[in-house]
């Protein structure tokens, strides 16, 4: 039996995100994302597939800080895809994901230039995992070497395992059966993940008629699979 097409979608509720950084570390643990040294961080080569951008608004004392969790937006019309000369980054018609095939990448770094969200990370050097930290590396995920571009994959390895299981058990995937590491751990539940093709799924429910939703840099027409919910306001009588 062949599986249904999935429109994997992530919803980020900016009103709930506390910026605690649990997603960031969870992503490192799940996807073998290396931690770069202090010197490299200063050079601007820190690698976090999942990052939380903090913007200031207004000025003291009426100042607000705003957190925006940012990961690969898995665009339906991704600008990074066509520019790759070797098909190292390309679209999965079946998962509606933006794939990165590390072993095909030759490192032209064009995709990063053409990526308006700047969510792609380049391995400037070989990653360093001091023994025995290597013991922790996830065998389901490629460990990238120097000269290769990498990025968030919506934890595609989890999606694939779940699909394999479903296929063997000859049943469709259940909603919530697949959760990327960041979504799984997010304490306030600011991150929600699911299949938009399935009307019953949590994301479909959350997004249907939700006035708070917007997509990042929508004017570029990249059609991201990540939907943001802008911060709400509450009525208080004074």
């Amino acid at each position: 039996m062949t599986l249904a097409e999935h429109k994997w979608t992530m919803v980020v509720d900016l009103d709930k995100c506390t910026g605690c950084g649990a997603c960031v570390v969870a992503c490192h643990a799940e996807n073998n994302v290396p931690i770069v040294s202090e010197e490299q961080t200063i050079q601007g080569r820190a690698m976090h597939w999942m990052r939380i951008e903090r913007y200031w608004e207004g000025s003291y004392p009426e100042i607000k800080a705003r957190f925006i969790p940012l990961m690969c937006q898995q665009c339906e019309r991704a600008p990074c895809e066509p520019v790759c000369p070797v098909y190292a980054t390309l679209h999965s018609e079946r998962e509606h994901l933006n794939l990165q095939v590390y072993n095909r990448c030759v490192g032209t770094r064009y995709c990063q230039n053409n990526d308006p969200y700047k969510v792609r990370f380049f391995n400037f050097f070989d990653p360093i995992f001091d023994e025995p930290l290597t013991q922790q590396l996830n065998p389901d995920v490629t460990v990238r070497s120097a000269g290769v571009m990498e990025k968030c994959t919506f934890c595609v390895q989890r999606i694939r395992r779940a699909e394999e299981r479903a296929r063997l058990e000859e049943r469709p995937l259940a909603d919530g059966e697949v959760l990327p590491a960041c979504v799984q751990t997010c304490p306030p539940g600011a991150l929600v993940f699911g299949d938009l093709n399935d009307e019953a799924s949590a994301v479909s429910q959350l997004l249907s008629g939700n006035a708070r939703q917007f997509k990042l840099l929508e004017h570029l027409g990249t059609e991201p699979s990540v939907v943001y919910l802008k911060g709400g306001t509450s009525y208080v009588s004074t």
Binding site: A22, R54, I68, I128, Q184, T185, R212
Partner: protein
């Protein structure tokens, strides 16, 4: 460095054990050895993960975790979905636990040190180590002192208690920087005063519609980052599309402040005054429902609102507005912050805030079920008085042997507490730290304990929110290094000590646990006989009842008006013009996370700086001092001095500077060593504790400059054009 290719892991999957590439002239793409198990463990499939339930030990909250194990290697930690506290969620520190387990700097085995502080350890055999410890303990008798931390497993603490009781030594001290900066002891005491029962308060944000947080960074590493994070999510999306309203009063914007609907930068130490002023306004109004008035009149002190306005820097109008918002709410809630717990008269300071809850009848929102009524021990954090007492005993030479487990006093306590000096007066110091930390380097003998993912134990979840719970702890992998469980070490050595032997009859810790755990009786997991109860306890990750017990009847003990004073700050205003605001780093917490690259290398939420210490200064202040980002400044307080680079921080009071705690280790592994500075050195001691919230400092530029390891582009964020990018 060795490249770990994905292929290698496929091999491992196929082999079930680590595959090694044969070196030599042969082409390494071929001839790879696959070593199968000699005897395969049960239910282990090569390439298929097994999940083991246990309890997180990165902070005292005690979240339930499940660990993904494949081919004998722990790969990923996730929250235990069944655990009543965290329901499958986990914070950054919880996620990083694997780097505690696989930390490259863990001691390979027991070591001893002839010259303290030299850091030159000689490896010894466990037999040797145990014998030395045995001799010392036997000679010491009642001259033994035990110093544990807030994350020490309940069963080990229990054994320590019994040992101390048997040998006539004072009962173990429970104190570390985490408990101090959380104000755990003070909060517990205050709660006793308020509810007449002894445990940490829990605040059910889910049900509140307006929250006044008096500097409580509950979304940061406060009592339970995970649980309060979850609660905050619910608080924002309540039934019928209702959205809670959060007011944060604090001198420097924490991540909680960042999420607040109204952030009020109030002068440090005036939280309690503001609370009283609000009570006063409510009483005078009278505001809120009729039944508030009487309570308000009893509890509200005779305080002059305008003087509070002057002291706190919040205009009277805004104070009144606050009071109205609070009074107009249906389920308002006031939360006392940890800064309150670090002032003289901390009790009244916290009570002043709790009074608002009492007036609003919000006790229900600030109440949790009792911890399960059993013999199981929950570390009760010792008040600072006990710490000073112990230090004095050490200096007086009354302590022959000092056992240190789960705490790092040399790093945790400022120089003003004279710990190093006191240690010098102790003939024999034993550390059980898995990594040689600052304290370990001051010890004669280090018997490394196993990390929490390798060891047994239990943890009474406190605060237990909707359900009382006991988390279970079990080894998920075979020990990575030759470390021995401290409980076993204790049980082994005491066999030879007649006085203690009788009190500790168990062959090993598991025997002890198997005896005490089943006494909990069948919980949600069910099970009747001891063995089933025990296995269910491990399988489900702990014990908890199927349904919540009815909340214990309680009446606020607050009966007369609360009279909290503005705290005395150390250092006079002329010489030390700035308030010092210390806060726990969101990722490194009190510094125990500094040995984990994931926590070191991940950007701080507010500043996006990694790997470093920084001092947050308001733009105007920076201009006045003529410093820019990255300029190293010299910070001096009456108690000490540090150097740190400036981070220009727009959301802090101009007369206040903030420094995160967590860096500045002199040991504690390659990732922590010689990194940033430890602001605790600026802190002096008071009669009631450490003055980390009541210290003034002065700043002098040094002319040095360092590059800041920030993840953001400051130019971009400051003169950036956020609103085009984010309609949100």
């Amino acid at each position: 460095m060795a490249k770990i290719s994905r292929r290698d892991f496929i091999k491992m999957g196929a082999a079930g054990l680590l595959a090694t590439v044969l070196t030599g002239c042969q082409n390494p793409r071929r001839w790879v050895t696959l070593e199968p198990y000699v005897i395969p463990p049960e239910e282990q499939l090569a390439g298929v993960a097994t999940w083991y339930a246990s309890t997180c030990r990165q902070c005292p909250a005690g979240c339930g975790i499940i660990v993904r194990v494949m081919n004998g290697r722990a790969l990923k930690i996730e929250g235990n979905p069944k655990h009543p506290l965290n329901k499958g969620k986990l914070c950054a520190r919880g996620q990083a636990g694997l780097q505690v387990l696989y930390n490259p700097d863990r001691l390979p085995g027991p070591v001893q040190q002839t010259e303290r502080g030299s850091g030159r350890f000689q490896p010894i055999s466990w037999e040797e180590g145990l014998n030395t410890l045995y001799d010392r303990l036997r000679q010491a008798g009642s001259g033994t002192a035990i110093w544990t931390g807030s994350t020490t497993s309940g069963h080990l603490l229990d054994l320590f208690e019994r040992f101390a009781a048997a040998t006539g030594a004072p009962s173990p001290l429970v104190f570390d920087l985490y408990s101090e900066l959380n104000g755990l002891a003070a909060l517990e005491n205050a709660d006793r005063a308020f509810f007449g029962q002894n445990r940490l308060p829990t605040y059910n944000l889910e049900q509140a519609d307006v929250i006044l947080s008096f500097g409580a960074d509950f979304l940061g590493p406060w009592l339970s980052q995970v649980r309060y994070g979850m609660a905050f999510g619910a608080f924002r999306s309540q039934s019928l599309g209702k959205r809670g309203y959060l007011v944060q009063l604090e001198p420097r914007m924490s991540i909680t402040g960042a999420k607040a609907d109204w952030w009020l930068p109030i002068s440090p130490g005036t939280e309690a005054l503001v609370a009283q002023a609000l009570a006063r306004i409510i009483a005078d109004g009278p505001l809120g429902p009729a039944e508030w008035a009487t309570k308000a009149n009893t509890l509200a002190s005779e305080i002059d609102v305008s003087s509070v306005a002057a002291a706190s820097g919040i205009p009277v109008t805004e104070l009144e507005q606050l009071a109205h918002i609070f009074a107009a709410a249906t389920r308002p809630l006031a939360i006392p912050g940890n800064a309150l717990a670090a002032q003289d008269g901390q009790g009244t300071a916290i009570a002043a805030v709790q009074a608002l809850n009492a007036i609003a009848g919000a006790d229900g929102l600030a109440l949790s079920p009792d911890s399960p009524a059993t013999s199981l021990l929950k570390p009760q954090v010792s008040p600072f008085g006990d710490v000073q007492a112990l230090i004095e005993r050490m200096q007086a030479g009354d302590v022959q042997v000092l056992l240190i487990h789960g705490a790092n006093p040399v790093y945790d306590l400022p120089e003003s507490a004279r710990v190093v000096d006191a240690l010098a007066h102790v003939p024999f110091v034993v550390s059980f730290g898995p990594i040689a930390d600052e304290t370990g380097v001051q010890a004669d003998l280090v018997l490394p304990d196993r990390t929490y993912l390798e060891s047994w134990g239990y943890d009474v979840t406190s605060p237990g929110f909707d359900l009382p719970a006991v988390g279970s702890q079990q080894p998920v992998v075979t020990p990575v290094f030759d470390a021995h469980s401290t409980a076993d070490v204790l049980l082994t050595v005491t066999r030879g000590i007649p006085t203690a032997a009788a009190a500790l009859p168990w062959s090993d810790e598991v025997a002890f646990l198997k005896e005490i755990i089943p006494q909990l009786g069948p919980g949600a997991a069910g099970g009747l006989d001891t063995d089933v109860l025990w296995s269910r306890f491990l399988q489900h990750g702990g014990w908890w009842p199927a349904t919540a017990p009815p909340p214990a009847p309680h009446t606020p003990v607050l009966s007369q008006s609360v009279q909290a004073e503005a705290p005395q700050f150390q250092g006079d205003e002329q010489e030390y013009p700035y308030f010092l605001h210390l806060y726990m780093s969101d990722l490194l917490s009190d510094g125990r996370g500094a040995d984990q690259p994931w926590l070191q290398g991940s950007p701080d939420p507010m500043t996006t700086v990694a790997w470093q210490t920084w001092v947050e200064i308001h733009p105007q202040t920076a201009q006045k001092l003529g410093v820019k980002d990255g300029d190293v400044v010299h910070i001096t307080s009456p108690a000490g001095e540090i150097e740190a680079p400036v981070y220009i921080y727009p959301a802090i009071r101009p007369n206040t500077i903030a420094v995160p705690v967590g860096q500045g280790h002199t040991d504690y592994g390659r990732y922590a060593r010689k990194r940033g500075s430890n602001p605790m050195d600026l802190v002096g001691t008071t009669s009631e504790g450490l003055a980390w919230a009541t210290t003034r400092v002065k700043i002098t530029p040094t002319g040095k400059k360092i590059a800041q390891a920030g993840f953001e582009n400051k130019a971009g964020v400051d003169e950036g054009f956020i609103n085009e990018a984010f309609p949100g």
